[in-house]
Amino acid sequence: MNQNEEKIKAIRLVAERIRKDSLWMSTRAGTGHLGPALSIADILATLYVGVMKIDPKNPKWPDRDRLILSKGHGCLALYSILSQVGFFDRKYLGDFCTKCDTLLPGHPELKLPGVEANTGSLGHGIAIGMGMALAAKMDGKQYRVFVVTGDGELQEGSNWEAAMAAAHHKLDNLVVIVDRNRLQLGDLTENISKLEPLEEKWKSFGWRVKSINGHDIKELLSTLNDVPFSIGKPSAIIAHTVKGKGLKIAENKVEWHYKVLTKEQYEDLKEELALEELQDE
């Protein structure tokens, strides 16, 4: 096995753990956005394990790469990956929406080590990321800023304001990854407000764009390590994904945007998916 294949294998394991953690946290809490967390598991695993320059022991390291989860409701996946790479102890995952004033609320907040912005209100992430990218250019720093947005989220006009401005300021250290799972809370994105041709939209706003399979670790790794696609231009990656990926009953099902397993369903699936015990010993 060559080095790259080993890495891909490692990332795959981390992604699997994200899925299991997400199921575990959300079932315990009886709440959470499961579908949108499962669709970005591979993207986050690849970024944190194979792409980003971070130091979990020093979460405020000035030269770190930043990740903003603009689709803050997908935070189950973020919490898992942050704990896996060591920003905080895994035992805290049990705090997800189970106690008041938890560090792991229903949308991510800065108080948790590793979280880079308060998100949860859609359409804010690209502008915040743009500010970070500007700061890097000013300070002559090499770090990059990755922003993961939902696809339905792109209906918010604030994204297009920010997209226009980032291109204007030639922020090639800014990367947007669109979780193109084709579903939003209510329906298919194309039934609610058509996003296609999505690539054309980004291009027309001055970005370089690539469309990839958001579950193919190899493709994710090579694409994410290939940014910027063009010097002087921000990069957009349209990652085609499956909402609820990995949980058969949830895949491509709109109702799983905001739905979790019952404890009974969890117990039934435990063996098949090699899930953890729900209760702490």
Binding site: I128, G131, S158
Partner: protein, 319 residues
């Protein structure tokens, strides 16, 4: 009061250049509004960003810059900052308590001719409804200058209200002291306490003079910081002065008047209060002077209202 005139925007532009010299981390973000930064743009071009007519992005970008250790200043018409981008102000900046300085211009009646879309009469109400944000409404160019400097000594989100490009009377001299969270007693008096902020302070001082000639002794407090409100000062004065009037060039709902009403209602229920301001209606177009008169918020009108307020049973007062 001196004869010198200067706009709050001019002194903001002057102060911001000095601040830029002092703090290397200060950056400006504009939404097609870069001229408000004056020479800062020429002097520190590498620290200036313009995102175009996109106020929401301006706020988001400032948040990102702040998260990377910069101290961003943003500015636009108060309406576009405090209305168009209010959710970004709330989520991106206030929830995280980020060190971003927000300067809304053309408040009160100073955008006069532009009509209601540009007349910011609810901006304090909007910003005050959001936790964590200091709100400053300077009375003149001197105070705007000092407040601009003071907000960089404070760490955390600040919203400052400025006015238009037009020069206005300078009320305070070199010895004037500004401190965030502290009201300034401009005139002592025993019959009535006038509390005001921003451009209403000048008019309140004119009212004070008119009242003085009629034998009414008014105290005037400049409450430049609307949040945190200087509760100690107000409680101290109202222990002896029982009639209180708030004057603001803002809607009577949600701004200075409401803040004072909330405090006194809970702590000094024996005090009589009259809130003067724009009475829950939208603005219209007109010169600043015309609008002050139109809304009954110039010195003469203020004095008249206070006279009848003191004369009548306040219970029948409808402001």
């Amino acid at each position: 009061m001196s004869e010198i005139k200067k706009s709050t925007r001019t002194s903001f532009a002057e102060a911001i250049v000095e601040v830029g010299n002092e703090y290397k981390d200060v950056v400006t973000v504009a939404a097609d509004s870069a001229s408000r930064y004056g020479d800062f743009v020429k002097k520190f071009p590498e620290r200036c960003f313009n995102v175009g007519i996109a106020e929401q992005t301006m706020i988001g970008v400032a948040a990102g810059l702040a998260l990377c250790g910069k101290i961003p200043v943003v500015t636009s018409y108060a309406n576009f900052l405090a209305f168009r981008a209010i959710e970004q102000v709330r989520v991106d900046i206030a929830t995280a308590g980020l060190d971003v300085k927000m300067v809304g211009t053309d408040t009160g009646f100073s955008s006069a001719w532009l009509g209601f879309t540009h007349l910011a009469l609810e901006d304090v109400a909007a910003v005050r409804s959001i936790p964590n944000i200091v709100i400053i409404d300077p009375a003149d160019a001197t105070e705007a200058y000092l407040a601009t400097k003071a907000m960089f000594e404070y760490k955390g989100p600040v919203y400052m209200r400025l006015r238009g490009r037009k020069d206005e009377p300078v009320l305070f001299g070199k010895d004037y002291v500004f401190e965030i969270g502290k009201g300034n007693v401009l005139r002592e008096g025993k019959d009535v306490l006038i509390i005001s902020s921003g451009s209403a302070v000048y008019e309140s001082l004119i009212a004070w003079e008119i009242l003085r000639q009629k034998g009414i002794s008014a105290a005037v407090v400049n409450m430049a910081t609307i949040r945190p409100l200087d509760e100690a000062l107000l409680l101290e004065i109202t222990s002896s002065v029982q009639s209180v009037v708030t004057v603001e060039h803002h809607n009577v709902t949600g701004g200075l008047g409401s803040a004072v009403a909330e405090l006194l209602a809970e702590k000094r229920p024996d005090v009589k209060l009259l809130r003067m301001g724009v009475k829950d209606t939208f603005g219209t177009a007109g010169s600043e002077e015309m609008l002050k008169a139109y809304f009954g918020l110039d010195g003469n009108a203020i004095a008249e209202r206070i006279k009848s307020f003191l004369k009548n049973d306040y219970k029948s007062e409808v402001n």
